[in-house]
Subunit: 185 residues, 2 copies
């Protein structure tokens, strides 16, 4: 068997095979991701990730991954976990990083290291219903990347632009997505 | 000392004291939440949550909370953690749940249990750059709540509407937020 081409730990042969398969049969690209949540007490609740649908198949092989969510005492919680808006930054950080690394790999660009930091502003007058003028969600999020690679600053900026263009979480946050909420009957 | 009024595990006396303090000094409501991320290999990276700024104070008292992010094998990963778009659902689930429970508490509505499930659609032709017509982010997310409380279906639907109105993550996703990304120099 021929050796598989790996760049940045990404199996590039497999990646291009997937792209070819999707071009032939676009339904392969349709994924459904899921979570469940159970309220514990006060600001403490617990989310679980397990099954997903994708590549025309239901995947239930993963062990459940459980996440505690809570607030710090200043927000009336007991620090039983990171809070929901912090999990949003976790999601954004993972997605920009993977998008950057994978799209670099697809172009044969080798990366030695990637680190990034995130800071988002929220004015709780929105959440608390004190002012209708104040946005309830993040007012803005700032992201800073450090990329260790044999690349010019210009080339590193191109990688960052690519990460933004192709990251699903970045695009969900910056372009919005419809969310329907109803009673489970 | 007088006993504190607790509803749904939320200290309602403290909540209303906080609201009064913010009305007098709005800067108390300005929070900054943060994350850092380090790429490990391929689609595997690691996010850390620790410090935040809020109530006019820098809080560095929490222990670091570490989250592994990876993809399943069908998306070229090794299942070292949930993937970024799944973390987004975790964030949404925690935020809607806490918003529902806290706003019910503020109105004196007692809740016995809350469970919810989330499913979001992503077409990976966006991420893979196969089609410019396909959105890169979530095309839509569906949420279903089960609420155990002495309430009519109409009252439960009002609670769900309140959760959507006041949840920061729900509002970030449905109304979008600006994200600036740059090189850390």
């Amino acid at each position: 068997m021929a050796q598989q081409k790996m760049v940045n730990g990404v199996n590039v042969d497999e990646l291009f095979k997937t792209i070819d398969a999707i071009k032939e049969k676009p339904d392969i690209a349709k994924f459904k991701f899921r979570a469940t949540n159970k309220w514990i007490m006060g600001t403490h609740n617990r989310a679980t990730i397990k099954s997903f649908y994708g590549a025309l198949t239901e995947d239930d092989t993963r062990k459940p991954m459980v996440f505690e969510l809570d607030e710090p005492p200043v927000l009336l919680g007991k620090n039983e976990g990171a809070n929901p808006v912090e999990y949003l930054l976790v999601a954004l950080s993972g997605c920009l990083t993977t998008s950057l690394v994978a799209h670099a790999a697809a172009r044969g660009i080798e990366i030695k290291g990637v680190e990034s930091r995130y800071e988002g502003d929220i004015d709780l007058r929105g959440f608390l219903g004190i002012s209708e003028q104040v946005p309830v969600g993040y007012q803005g999020i700032r992201v800073y990347f450090k990329i260790d690679a044999n690349l010019s600053e210009e080339q590193k900026k191109e990688l960052i632009a690519m990460a933004q263009k192709y990251s699903p979480v970045f695009n969900t946050i910056t372009k919005s997505a419809p969310v329907t909420v109803g009673l489970d009957t």
